[in-house]
Amino acid sequence: MDRRRHLDDWRPGASLETLRARARLLARIRAFFAARGVLEVETPLAGISFGTDPAIEPLRTRFTGPGHARGLDLYLQSSPEFFMKRLLAAGSGPIWQLGKAFRNGEAGPRHNPEFTLLEWYRPGFDDAALMDEVAALVCAALEQDLPVEHCAYAALFRTHLGIDPLEADAEGLRDCALAHDVLGAEGLVLDRDGWLDLLMSTLIEPLLGRDGLTFVTDYPASQASLARLAPDGRTAARFELYWQGMELANGFHELSDATEQAQRFEQENCRRRSAGQAPMPVDDALLAALEHGLPDCAGVALGIDRLLMCQLGLDDIDQVLAFSLARL
């Protein structure tokens, strides 16, 4: 990276006005959860294990000191999910956390490797109940009433692309991408979910949340991540929130079955190995907590930097961060 190209590079990317808007946003979020009796918690940013999702790569660091003379590899967490689920299993009740999350390899107008994530868990809620609370939180945080709509993932693909994302195979999805002029798609080698991601992010996402908040629901089972599956096994109780064509939040009716969670970790690590990525150390403490018993709950993570971008009509994450990667 070209460093210190301009003398003015020491300055923050966000204007002082934007930094004040950020502070107001955070204050209203704190007030929202305080009023609802949700407990604010803090969990470690650096952990010894990491999620196995092949699409998320960790930033690593290393502790050397008492007890670890040869050093202990640590992973900067991409979400506080595993630690928060351990608190839930320990009987915390509803909890929320506002903190930094980290992802390696991600930088651009909508991505910074270090970003601010709001994450919360609601025992006794399912995904539908949590979506209502997400909408309420966003409207309260912005002091703005926004219309809310819900669209099933499969219905979006049928409406906009004329294809069934639960049935179509990789070849059919590739043909769909070519038919809709996703330029350069002819040269891509992707699996089924890769094609779904391409269609979603290039053709559907820009159309979502134009008039308000759009929740996309019922993701394909192959993209369940940490959500529980529907009884028919075809879709997952996972939702995403979009506003102004921007992905803001991802939520689940949480998977609480320790055996299934262990299987998903193993499957994802297999996919990592076959793609030439390093497998991640599986979080045994999380599996033990699930074994002990995670209350039936729903949880969601919401990107605060992007929410601020939407609120202020800014199109580069650098404009809402004091110091983005390019300004370190």
């Binding site: 991600e106 979603m200 992010s201």
Partner: protein
């Protein structure tokens, strides 16, 4: 063979795509929260000038194009090729009509042109932004008209035709902007 990872993509980087050298104009990182990352890239084909878009899976590598730009002096043409020389190394290059494009209309011997070389071969020749050329033929204008309003066609020594003010006459030298193909002013004799 040299290649670039998508993480190295930035505007100005030169890549090989479908057998043609291209330069990146814009590079956008696209990634769903839980899914495949892509780079959506806008490029210009350096041979045709055409702008195209491509989507790459992030992390892939793409062949680099061995492309460089040089300032070369125009020597002469044999009708089929146009010959250029690097005034420092005395190395000579030949460009075909395709690479010459519009530049043929404007350049004279010894003019220094910006030449894009791909694998050592000229693929794009740009005329200097301004050239001074003699008018070989134009209708005599009305005497006393110095306003320049209206204008008339004038053929230049290279064969190019530009619109000039009525007061400019055959045998005079004029300055032309090669990017717009427009008359700028009369040129003073050195």
């Amino acid at each position: 063979m040299a290649s670039y990872n998508t993480n190295e993509f930035r505007s100005g980087l030169k890549l090989m795509l479908d057998g043609d050298p291209c330069v990146i104009i814009e590079n956008e990182f696209v990634k769903p929260g839980k899914g495949q990352a892509f780079n959506r890239v806008k490029l210009r084909n350096l041979k045709t000038g055409r702008v195209l878009e491509k989507t790459f899976k992030s992390g892939e590598s793409v062949e680099a194009a061995d492309v460089m730009e040089r300032d070369l002096a125009y020597l002469y043409t044999d009708g089929e090729f146009w010959y250029f020389m690097d005034n420092e190394t005395y190395e000579q290059y030949q460009a075909d009509a395709n690479a010459m494009g519009e530049a043929v209309k404007w350049i004279k011997e010894q003019d220094v042109c910006n030449v894009t070389l791909w694998n050592g071969q000229p693929i794009v020749v740009e005329a200097p932004n301004f050239v001074v050329l003699e008018i070989t033929e134009t209708d005599p204008g009305l005497k006393g008209d110095t306003s320049g309003g209206g204008g008339k066609p004038a053929t230049l020594e290279t064969g190019a035709v530009v619109r000039v003010p009525l007061f400019v006459q055959t045998g005079e030298k004029i300055k032309v902007d090669t990017r717009s193909g427009e008359y700028v002013s009369r040129a003073k004799d050195d």
